[in-house]
Amino acid sequence: MKPRTVSLAKRGFDFETTMWIFTRLSALAMYLFALVAIVGALIMGARTQMNMADLIRWTFMSNPNHVLNTNVADLVPWSTSFWKLTGSAFVFFAATHGLHGLLSVIEDYLTHPGLRRFLRILVILILVAMTAIGIYVLWTS
């Protein structure tokens, strides 16, 4: 079966199309960040203290405050601005990806236009607040 395609000019490129491609690309970006953090953790001695919860802590938020309880010998390598920048980017991608996903699930089940607009505004507020809180915690720890 030959896939039918509609040209971009006919289809239009609206906000939801942008978010559709953003969801795909941010997934790839998060794969990259997790890989960078795992490699960083292994370089910094994680291989000698394998433990599932600890490895996840390193992978998903390589921040000194987050890996505090994991018996890392030296926390200094984790407090550079490189890890803070990748951590902030991770928070931004994860929050946007997750909350847009939440919104698309909600909008699949709720059809009332007013309710949808209200939830859309609510999710945007939560997104801004959670991203700000996450990045604030990252940079002040």
Binding site: M1, M52, A53, I56, N65, T111, I133
Partner: protein, 128 residues
Amino acid sequence: MGLKRNVSLKDGLRYQGKGPMLTYVLHRISGLSIVLFVGLHILAAFLSQQFGSNAGTFINDIYESWVFQIYIIFCGLFHAINGLRIVILDLWPKLIEYQREAIWLEWLVLLPILSMVILVIVRTALAG
């Protein structure tokens, strides 16, 4: 855009989508679980760091229990691997013909990793 859908929940549940439908449902459930998990986690970290509240330790006690770890690791792994399949098939639409094979491959990748992780978690839990 007021949408009208004439499908009841019962009819929806009776829909036999098989493999692809199962991954679709699990992708949603695991995605929502991760949003809830990460959201509460960030909030708890913020509260305990700024105000010295013990919400952080309360939530961490739940998060560190082995049942929760198995659940969230399943959600994370499934969402990641199924998400990678969706990304690949969406960015190279010609591959959509092989969707069923891709889903089999996905379980073939997921199950060994998941069982290994569960083994490690349970062994750590039993060791105390």
